[in-house]
């Protein structure tokens, strides 16, 4: 069932984090990424860890969901860790055969791995607690100042939400076309790279034709419902800041300052 695939993997629950304005969450994620790269010493990392644990608990999302995002990058983590571990010059603290581990290498490897793991967990927290629509809405509102400079902010966010609606449909359609061509004796599994690439043509052509047909149908349907760009549009679900959002902004800033100060001393 290809319909199970959802972008960004939203986990529905009723938590403080779910209720936060998406703009706050986008801002928090940005600050969090900055902070992760400022921090180098153990104490700032302790602060970050504490904050991360607190937010994870508040989110009511099972921890296993956040760890899932890590599976895909395990190899990357191992390779990056090993490189840092063995390739960094410094005072040798440990020796395995011809391989030497230096003190700086050890430190770099740990920081690297911790940063990556924290980065994945932190960003997946945002996507797990925010629906794709809220995310595009939040982006549109956050980037609104850019539209004064002529950037097509409304158009980009409209494109994003339409893409979110049609990706599952096109994925399912791909499956259908593949089956139809297999019923005509197509073979997608055997042969070399070029043979396999050629075998994709009977899938890609109908898929593009269908995507274009859908696009033109949809454009007409949008026009019929009075769509005429972002101008003069109202919002069914406007974004408004609540008290909790303001508190969150203060906390995020406090967090940034705390980590920055602790990193300097």
């Amino acid at each position: 069932m290809f319909r199970e695939i959802t972008l960004g993997q939203y986990y529905p629950a009723d938590s403080v984090l779910h209720r936060l304005d998406p703009r706050v969450k986008l801002f928090a994620t940005l600050i969090y990424i900055i902070v992760l790269f400022i921090a180098e010493k153990p104490i700032p990392f302790l602060v970050i860890t504490a904050a991360l644990i607190a937010v994870i608990v508040m989110s009511k999302v099972p921890f296993s969901y956040m760890v899932r995002g890590l599976r895909g990058i395990v190899m990357l983590l191992v390779i990056a860790g090993v490189f840092n571990l063995f390739m960094t010059p410094g005072i040798v603290v440990y020796k395995i055969g011809p391989f030497e581990i230096s003190d700086i290498g050890l430190k770099n490897a740990i920081i690297m791995v911790v940063r990556m793991v924290y980065l994945i967990i932190g960003t997946s927290l945002m996507t797990l607690t925010t629906t794709p629509n809220q995310l595009t809405d939040g982006l549109e509102r956050s980037l609104r100042p850019l539209s004064r400079l002529g950037a097509p902010v409304h158009e980009i966010s409209m494109m994003m939400s339409i893409a979110l609606r049609f990706i599952p449909i096109l994925v399912e359609e791909t499956d259908k076309i593949m089956k139809a061509q297999m019923a005509r004796g197509a073979d997608f599994e055997s042969g070399g790279l070029i043979t396999r690439a050629k075998a994709m043509v009977p899938i890609l052509v109908p898929l593009f034709v269908s995507a274009f047909r859908r696009a033109s149908d949809l454009a007409m349907a949008m026009e019929a419902r009075c769509y005429h760009g972002g101008e003069g549009r109202t919002k069914m679900k406007p974004l408004t800041y609540k008290a909790s959002d303001r508190v969150a902004y203060v906390l995020i800033m406090a967090f940034l300052v705390a980590v920055a100060v602790l990193s300097l001393i």
Binding site: S161, L218, A221, A224, C226, M236
Partner: protein, 282 residues
């Protein structure tokens, strides 16, 4: 009384082009069509693919404009670009493919799309969405993803999306062509309810004869012309004409027609089983 839709000598031509974009010839999709629809009517337009019925529908929504003749929708001329948005607000349109007209990933947000475009204040959008979704019986699915709905349900959401714009008229362009019999029945029932309870003018475009039985008035189109018009009974009385135009006649009407031809005393234009039984056993 003022008419909801009034077409006088409505003609639409388009250029056929070859691969280099040179004009090869002119095709006439609508050929001097006259049509008048009273407010609150339920009318059906029948015809094969390529008969011009969809082209006509797109004119009523100002998605196309006439090459010749005039078309007034609620008194507004569709050729006047200033009125385009107002025309689309008074005459909403539901299309054939249920998947390709739903824009949002949540049912209620899709229904709100039209009112958002019209600049309706947020509170009122919510009221309209609620009443539109309740009107088509989809209120309990408001937070669902459209991807998980059946074809008939998706079309009801599409109808709600138009209803939320509070139009006077809804054009349904082959809304049942891609649905199974259950879905077809759902959509037709909703269309009739909106017509009866809210007095909305309905223009149903279809190629299924069975669907026009309950309409007030029927137009049959072929090659851009209206070739027949009348009440369903008048139309169904002309079985031989319908067959000559290769339109399918409902099984019961056809059976009655054949029995009459074989010498039984049965009136023309039988629409239902009850009528046929009554004619057979008076």
């Amino acid at each position: 009384m003022k008419s909801m839709i009034n077409a006088k000598q409505l003609t639409h031509e388009f250029f056929r082009r070859d691969e280099e974009g040179n004009v090869e010839g002119i095709s006439v999709a609508l050929d001097h069509v006259d049509l008048d629809v009273a407010p609150g009517a339920f009318i059906a337009i029948l015809g094969h693919n390529g008969s011009g019925k969809s082209t006509l529908a797109k004119h009523i929504n100002a998605l196309l404009t006439p090459s010749e003749g005039t078309l007034l929708v609620d008194g507004m001329d569709v050729s006047d670009p200033e009125r385009t948005l107002s025309i689309r607000e008074s005459a909403g349109m539901v299309f054939q493919n249920p998947d390709n007209q739903i824009i949002a990933t949540v049912v209620e947000e899709d229904v709100g799309f039209g009112p958002e475009n019209m600049g309706i204040p947020t509170d009122e959008i919510w009221q309209r969405v609620e009443s539109a979704l309740k009107g088509v019986g989809m209120w309990k699915y408001r937070e669902h993803s459209p991807n998980r709905l059946s074809g008939g349900q998706k079309q009801r959401v599409a109808i709600a999306g138009v209803m939320a714009m509070e139009p006077k008229c809804i054009i349904l362009d082959e809304p049942t062509a891609m649905l199974d019999p259950g879905g077809r029945a759902e959509v037709l029932q909703v269309a009739h309810e909106l017509n009866r309870k809210k007095g909305i003018t309905i223009i149903l475009i279809t190629h299924y004869m069975e669907e026009v039985v309950d309409a007030d008035y029927v137009y049959v189109m072929e090659k851009g012309h209206i070739i027949m018009d009348g009440t369903p009974r008048e139309i169904f009385s002309r079985v031989d004409d319908l067959i000559a135009h290769r339109l399918t006649v409902p099984q019961i009407t056809l059976l009655a027609h054949r029995l009459k031809a074989a010498g039984l005393d049965i009136p023309e234009g039988i629409l239902t089983r009850e009528e046929l039984i009554k004619a057979l056993c008076p």
